[in-house]
Assembly symmetry: C2
Homo-oligomer: 462 residues x 2
């Protein structure tokens, strides 16, 4: 039997894991430096918790877990007939499955908050880094199992939280070495204001869905779609400033243009004021000028209709990989679980896409996460007795070290060191045992020197 | 709708996560110091990969994932009739599910090795720390989702690997602070030798299954079971030395007694010699005397019949919690996937039980993994402008710091600091803004002092 992987899933071998650890560690340490606390929720949730939270398409993409025991005993002839009709299988799901796999980290977080409402100190800042699963058709860059890394604050509507997200994004990408990125920011209130300004108040959701496709289908097709959805030519002509290229003069010029265009909408002005306050906090923190990678984009909508304030999206420049991070403010995270009115704001980092960006731009630091630093290579039993205390000394100094387990050809042992990218090898033969001088080989330079055991540690730690 | 957890699964809130991280980090850093490299495999495997690897009971405990799309369209009247018979549901599984959730880390590891056989440098040392799932009846200490932390070496039969496992176990438990534990060691060859010695050669598997229950059911019932399975009274009477308490004199005395009892069995002598060589390596490394927590236990079998050499099991003393770690040598890890003859040896740490032991014995270090070190508490907008650059300074020095997001009552902000166990709070009001002297409050001692912003970092880092 030739084994294979489930389509859309991946093994991560040592080389990939080292790179992934670098990304996870960078994101985690930033989350923690900003005072976010870890949370983990189970991989499985009751389907009642998951269903209806991600739209019809999302419900279909949930992985369902077959009930245990006599799960099919209650199936009837009528069920069988149902199943044989097109689309009939899904009607049998309630009988066959009561559990599903986590689809994102947001719904389980909301469930956690509701179940622990009395014990949680608000505002609650949590981060969560776990895999999620989607029964999607696998394709390049789209997997059925992938990690999300989320940080959210709930229980406050302070704009400081938005400012902190802007700061965290900058810190994460700087620490990853992705220096050329753009953080696009918008605000749901600006989108609502645009709907007001063009004479279709309250229709910003429809507007957003179409505008969200701007990058993919272009201005003309966006307008066609809106026309089909009943927007008048007059309304559409007033959308013109939305498609104009950003003015010279950066953020301030963009803010000014929007303020003038949307002067008649109080909602838009409120959104613009929020944006401005947030940016003031960011500047007071000390992030400004060329270090600030923010762009205000009034077309940014990110599909998800639950954002009520700020909307964020990050793209790496010079690579054709979609957004690597996104988030925003929402006002009703826990409403579906009977706890309305809890405001929050969050950000999600997509590890798989960040990995692809860093791989394509060759940004992983040399030797990042290389594990073993020293390989001990004894030629015989007496040499082992010399090697073992050295192995202990190295590890006690927190130097990752191993001893080649078999007594075999030296070439084979050196090949092993090379295959594992181990930078130092200590060769111990009968001469070394007699003289007490060990041969330390630098596998990168090829250089070899004779040292006493007690000097090996100093040299390999340098 | 009141949300709930799937039975047998758990949320891990910040407090538990901090403790779990302490365990994970300790195990991971030991694995890495010993030169093991990380591997991660997908949560889902094809059922063809999983089925038949864990016995009938294991097959039943696999969580199966319902196929997507028209999964029920091929069900027939005959299937329906099958399903309505006792035990009939499971016969429908092949039609309804082709994927299952990982049941342990060993089978996916074997699959990975076989699929990457040409690329892997042998010996291959990998560690893997991921959740596994079992559709077991939940009960105290038994969960449907739990973590395993495994380290294995494959591609060598060197006894150095066994010695390294003994060393790793000691290092992990020492670093966790679990100083009172017992590492029981046995060898399959000793069990086989016992079978030879009592005149039932080749029957060590049957013998093991019964002996494995010694702790639970006692000597008499073990003998009853063996009698039922056809062992003669003569054979059973020769088992007597197995049940005798360990002799005074520790490991050496136990080895000597076994050597005499099993003098007639070459297999047993080979097993004893392996044990002795392994212990010599451990001693040469520098682990001996009272630091060595090893006990030789010829009754140790660990149920799993695939061990072919050393068998390990760790229990914490003074708590009634089962084994916290176990493993051994196997000679046919990858045989089921068409790659016979690959020998390996591994160890698995059970995080959930280790957690329970440490909780019961109160071994988690005070403040282990406490996140935020400093909370900034500005009383108004001007105070915020003073606080923000300080926030930046702290974080740039890798001090986890946050600013309370809302302008509210001081008491509420201090309550927040206490709820999150934040040790330092910086209070900034109008006086502080004017004088430039900030109030630093130590939340543990209650002490308060006035400092310039640039001195806060020094004090909180001390």
């Amino acid at each position: 039997m030739k084994p294979s992987l489930v389509k859309g899933t991946r093994d991560f071998g040592p080389e990939q894991m080292r790179k992934r650890h670098f990304i996870f560690d960078t994101i985690r340490s930033t989350f923690r430096r900003f005072g976010f606390q870890p949370l983990e929720t189970p991989s499985m949730e009751n389907l009642t918790t998951l269903t209806g939270k991600y739209g019809d398409e999302g419900d279909q993409l949930l992985f369902k877990i077959l009930n245990s025991g006599e799960f099919a005993a209650t199936l009837t002839d009528a069920d069988l007939q149902t199943a044989q009709q097109p689309g009939g299988s899904k009607k049998l799901i309630p009988q066959l499955a009561e559990k599903g796999l986590r689809y994102d980290l947001t719904v389980p977080f909301a469930r956690y908050v509701v179940m622990n409402r009395n014990a949680l100190a608000l505002p609650f800042k949590r981060y969560q880094m776990q895999p999620v699963w989607r029964a999607d058709r696998p394709q390049r860059g789209r997997y059925r199992e992938f990690y999300q890394c989320d940080a959210d604050v709930v229980g406050t509507d302070s704009l400081l939280c938005e400012a902190e997200i802007v700061l965290m994004i900058h810190e994460v990408f700087r620490n990853l070495g992705i220096t050329d990125f753009t953080l696009k920011i918008n605000n749901r209130k600006i989108l609502a204001g645009i709907a007001e300004a063009i004479g279709v108040p309250g229709q910003e959701a429809t507007l957003s869905v179409a505008i969200d496709k701007l990058d993919k289908i272009g201005q003309e097709k966006v307008l066609d779609e809106l026309r089909e959805r009943g927007f008048s030519d007059d309304a559409l002509s007033q959308l013109e400033p939305l498609f104009a290229s950003a003015p010279e003069g950066g953020i301030l010029a963009t803010l000014e243009r929007l303020r003038q265009w949307l002067a008649a909408s109080e909602t838009a002005q409120a959104g613009l004021a929020e944006l401005e306050q947030m940016l003031t906090l960011v500047q007071q923190y000390g992030l400004s000028g060329s270090a600030l990678h923010v762009e205000i984009d009034p077309t940014l909508a990110r599909g998800l209709s639950y954002y009520t304030g700020a909307i964020f999206e990050v793209k790496a420049n010079n690579v054709s990989i979609g957004s690597v991070s996104g988030g925003g403010r929402y006002d009703n995270l826990t409403g579906a679980f009977g706890m309305p009115g809890l405001s929050g704001v969050g950000i999600s980092f997509g590890v798989d896409r960040i990995y692809d960006v860093m791989d394509e731009l060759n940004l992983f630091p040399e030797g990042a996460g290389q594990i073993t630093r020293v390989l001990l290579v004894p030629f015989d039993e007496p040499a082992r007795a010399v090697a073992l205390p050295l192995l202990r000394t190295l590890r006690e100094a927190d130097v990752a070290a191993e001893m080649y387990p078999d007594l075999t050809k030296v070439k084979k042992m050196l090949d092993y060191a090379n295959a594992k990218s181990i930078p130092f090898v200590v060769l111990i033969g009968s001469e070394e045992v007699q003289t007490g001088l060990l041969s330390l080989k630098n596998m990168i330079t090829g250089e070899q020197q004779k040292l006493r055991a007690e000097d090996v540690l100093t040299t390999v730690s340098a």
